[in-house]
């Protein structure tokens, strides 16, 4: 029987030698939820995870697991399991001993330990590897054993500290799917730390984006992708990153237009957004649009007026197989577009692309917030 528990973090701070790594964050994780903490290196996500585990002291703030304040509770008494980046398997023990170690420390009956380890090993496809030591296992196999060690204990919270970053690209995708399948099966409350936005988008039920020790935005993957709240989030999520161009909002006819200050065509603002952007008329802003929203044949629906045609001269072509990335300049800014491979041309050629204006974002450069 798995006892699930929510995690509540209030005003969490962590300071190392006067440097503030985590600056007062609040997070709520519901029972059985899979939350991904994502951000660039040094943003404080691993420190947060380690404070929840009890492996780092909390400078200020409170952590509740299942409504119990755990600030001063020993790691062993928090009923938490953790999967580490470098697996952290005990090198002198076999896979079986590694997986059963936590249960043996908690004095479970031998039969119970055997049943749980066998079941977890079967689920993770490592049944035949149980008598090998970590040194005799490949990276992927070690990671499976590490996950097995975490799930056999049936902890109330499972923490993942960049568990896939040591694996090669192909194995990473495979293990990502397995983690998702595992969570669907065991439904343990999970907090997963990564700097890889693809992992965050694919695994998370909710994403927490951190930057410089603070939370930038919390939301479902769709919310984060479609409605970023800050320039940082808009630029961090999405690959290739969102294009940013400096602009000024001007009035033209009955509507608004975006005049790119670095040079380039004027872009009409969709009428549905006129009301939202009117207060910023005449201000210097940043125009943001994702590469996938600059394409040759917009077929996502929407009014015809929402598409703006742009003549571009291709600078670099990057074929990805399914899509092709085109790099070109608008004024003095390099811009990326994602097009279908069958329409992509050669560098130096002229092409007509269409910007999907109802997918655009306007950002206040002073506050970094998306308007």
């Amino acid at each position: 029987m798995i006892v699930m528990a929510g995690v509540r973090i209030r005003g969490l701070h962590k300071t190392y030698n006067r440097t503030e790594a985590v600056c007062g964050i609040d997070i709520d994780i519901a029972d059985g939820e899979f939350v991904v903490l994502v951000g660039p290196s040094g943003c404080g996500k691993s420190s947060t995870l380690r404070m929840i585990a009890g492996l780092e002291e909390i400078t200020k703030g409170e952590i509740f697991i299942d409504d119990r304040l755990v600030n001063h509770v020993q790691p062993k008494d928090r009923d938490i399991a953790m999967v580490f980046q470098n697996y952290a398997l005990y090198p002198h023990m076999t896979a079986r001993e590694n997986m059963s170690f936590g249960l043996r420390m908690r004095r479970y009956a031998k039969d119970e330990i055997k049943t749980r380890v066998t079941e977890a090993a079967r689920f993770l496809n490592i049944a035949e590897l149980l008598d090998r030591r970590p040194g005799q296992l490949s990276g992927g196999e070690r990671q499976r054993v590490a996950m097995g060690r975490a799930i056999v204990r049936e902890p109330s919270v499972c923490l993942f500290d960049e568990p896939l970053s040591n694996l090669d690209a192909k194995l990473r995708v495979k293990m990502r799917t397995e983690i998702k399948r595992l969570h669907h099966k065991v439904k343990t409350t999970s907090l997963y730390v990564t700097h890889d936005q693809v992992e965050a988008m694919t695994l998370a039920e909710r994403i927490v984006i951190m930057n410089a020790g603070r939370i930038e935005q919390v939301g479902t993957p769709d919310e984060i992708y479609l409605h970023p709240k800050t320039k940082f989030v808009a630029g961090f999520i999405g690959s290739p990153a969102m294009n940013f161009l400096h602009c000024r909002l001007a009035k033209e006819g009955g509507g608004l237009t975006i005049s790119l200050t670095g040079g380039g065509p004027s872009l009409p603002v969709p009428t549905v957004r006129t009301g939202r952007y009117s207060p910023h008329l005449g201000k210097d802003l940043v125009f943001g649009i994702r590469p996938e929203h600059i394409t040759q044949r917009p077929d996502h629906g929407g009014a015809k007026a929402d598409f703006v045609e742009i003549d571009i001269k291709i600078d670099v072509v990057e074929p990805l197989g399914m899509d092709t990335l085109l790099y070109f300049s608008i004024g003095d800014t390099e811009v990326c577009a994602r097009v279908s491979p069958d329409v992509a041309r050669e560098p130096g050629e002229i092409m007509l692309l269409k910007a999907e204006m109802n997918q655009m974002h306007l950002i206040d450069p002073d506050t970094g917030t998306v308007l």
Binding site: G54, A81, F84, A88, P91, H92, F101
Partner: protein, 296 residues
């Protein structure tokens, strides 16, 4: 064609030529003296008699040693084993404690590390002399404190305490090596395994006993064997501290060899004792190499 043959010949012989200076010096400084030592051990050579007068007596010297006719030989072997065991155990325990302490984030770590390795920098014979002054009955610093707290002085280098005092000096001298080896071993242990153990339900003590110590085992074995060699071979500090005395209380095997050779002048017999010492040291060295190979 000829040129190619020369090139092939050069390519094949180049590695041997490059290592030959080291091999040659090792042979001259290590193998030749050992062979000479073994040669002397088969003779009746004594100081004061011409080298030409020596007689080859086969293994007689060894027979005399092992049958106990040289009365100090077996006691010196037993004492060497005792000293070695005490030194290994104590340097391991204290070295491990020091290594664990130094493995934490402590202030002035480099200063403390320098202080820690100081005993290593002192010449063993000088260390013996230094401790002789410290242990001195009349003006030794140790007796000043002993007298202050207990009201009487101790004859540290007398019959009763000479072995204890010698052990203190040997342990003091050999702790740094043990601590540094164990510290290197501790620093190699993945800290996340300790974190994982704590999440798995271990207390600090259990994590140390069940996770750290087993990972440190190869280093502990190598360090202990290394300490055993050091302890078995010790000569300098004992020579200057007690000269093997009083009587033969601190006469370990190297002191027996010295006393037999330079005290009694029985060079053949001393050489036989030295060959036994070389053999024991060689066995311990082989064990170190074996544990290293097993680890690799």
């Amino acid at each position: 064609m000829r040129n190619t043959n020369v090139q092939i010949y050069w390519k094949k012989s180049a590695p041997y030529i490059w290592v030959s200076p080291s091999v040659l010096s090792l042979f001259l400084l290590s193998v030749v003296p050992t062979l000479l030592l073994f040669n002397i051990s088969l003779t009746s050579f004594e100081i004061g008699y011409p080298w030409e007068d020596r007689e080859y007596i086969g293994l007689d010297n060894y027979v005399r040693l092992f049958t106990g006719r040289e009365v100090e030989f077996w006691p010196s072997i037993y004492l060497s084993i005792f000293v070695t065991i005490i030194c290994v155990v104590m340097t391991l325990c204290i070295g491990l404690a020091v290594a664990v302490l130094f493995n934490r984030k402590i202030k002035f770590k480099y200063l403390f590390t320098t202080i820690l390795i100081l005993p290593m920098a002192v010449n063993p014979a000088i260390a013996g002399l230094m401790w002789k002054l410290l242990f001195s009955f009349d003006f030794g610093v140790i007796n000043v404190f002993v007298e202050k707290y207990w009201g009487y002085k101790i004859v540290w280098l007398g019959q009763k305490y000479a072995l204890f005092s010698t052990l203190v000096v040997l342990i003091w001298m050999h702790i740094p090596i043990s601590a540094l080896l164990l510290l290197a071993g501790l620093e190699n242990i993945d800290q996340d395994t300790i974190m994982a153990a704590k999440l798995d339900g271990c207390s600090d003590t259990q994590a140390f006993r069940l996770i750290v110590l087993p990972q440190l085992k190869p280093v502990i074995i190598s360090s202990s064997l290394f300490q055993a060699i050091l302890a078995f071979q010790t000569f300098g500090p004992i020579f200057t501290l007690t000269n093997g005395g009083p009587g033969s209380v601190t006469t370990i095997l190297p002191m027996f060899v010295y006393k037999t050779g330079f005290g009694l002048g029985m060079m053949g017999m001393a050489a036989a004792g030295a060959v036994v010492l070389v053999a024991i040291t060689a066995i311990l060295s082989l064990m170190i190499m074996w544990t290293g190979r097993k680890k690799a």
